[in-house]
């Protein structure tokens, strides 16, 4: 089963890194979609079928935590698994993300294996 993955990060360099890490990890991706902030990400969710969201927190216009809150308010995509990939590492930030039901919290800089392991864990539960 191929998964459609939405990468949300205001840095195009970071989106590129994440896309490459996932591509070489063997994770079965149908299509990658990208967004530069929460507002753009909600637009993608409205238009595309997305199976997994990987989101930064610190972004302009709409940050990652607000974006996930908006996701959870929507009946259609409230159950899509979300993994945060961010430099924000304070316990308060991690707790807030976890309270929103995110499936993982990965801090930058990250080893590629960390993303691979987290995606495999989610993939396993989805089967």
């Amino acid at each position: 089963m191929a998964f459609n993955v939405l990468i949300v990060d205001d840095s195009m360099a970071m989106r590129s890194v994440i896309r490459k890490v996932i591509s070489i990890s063997g994770f079965d991706v149908g299509t990658f979609f990208e967004a530069g902030n929460g507002i753009e990400a909600l637009e993608v969710l409205n238009e595309q079928w997305i199976d997994l969201v990987l989101s930064d927190i610190n972004m302009p216009e709409m940050d990652g935590l607000t974006f996930v809150k908006k996701m959870r308010e929507n009946e259609i995509y409230k159950n899509i698994p979300v993994v945060m990939i961010t430099t924000e590492g304070s316990q308060a930030c991690i707790d807030e993300a976890m309270s929103l039901g995110v499936k993982g919290y990965i801090q930058k800089p990250f080893m590629p294996e960390v993303i691979k392991e987290k995606l495999e864990e989610i993939m396993e539960k989805t089967r």
Binding site: S16, T86, S90, Q91, P109
Partner: protein, 155 residues
Amino acid sequence: MNPTDRNVLTAVVQEVFETMFFTFVDPIGEDEMSQITSLPGPYFHGQIGVKGENGRKVLDIFIPDEMANSLTETILRKEDNKSVSKEELIDTTKEIANMALGNILNKTNKEGTQRLTTPTAELVGDISPFIKDSGMEHIYFETDWGIMVVLFACG
């Protein structure tokens, strides 16, 4: 800069470059630093701070432009062989500043409620006067592309 802060800052900067860019940067000793009087550039200058708690923390990083080019090309690995744009170089510089200060906070103030500001970046020329007048603690790193400079203010 006290030795502990210097060690944390050095380790964080090295971790960012090694983990994300597979690039090694070596800190230059303070004696050797004092002999470097000219940093003509051009450099990509990234800056980021924190908000949310009393006290000020600001990190400035000056990446030699050829280094920024190489790192960005490595990340984006363009299939059409087009050279990277200035916008892409600025984006990479901002993300490096973001990861560096974020990790300093993670290592020194995990329980804090501070949040990172939005990073900024620009292309600059000779940074010698800026370093001299900044009053900020700084570390020089030897790289394959010249001297990289990181300034950190914590008050």
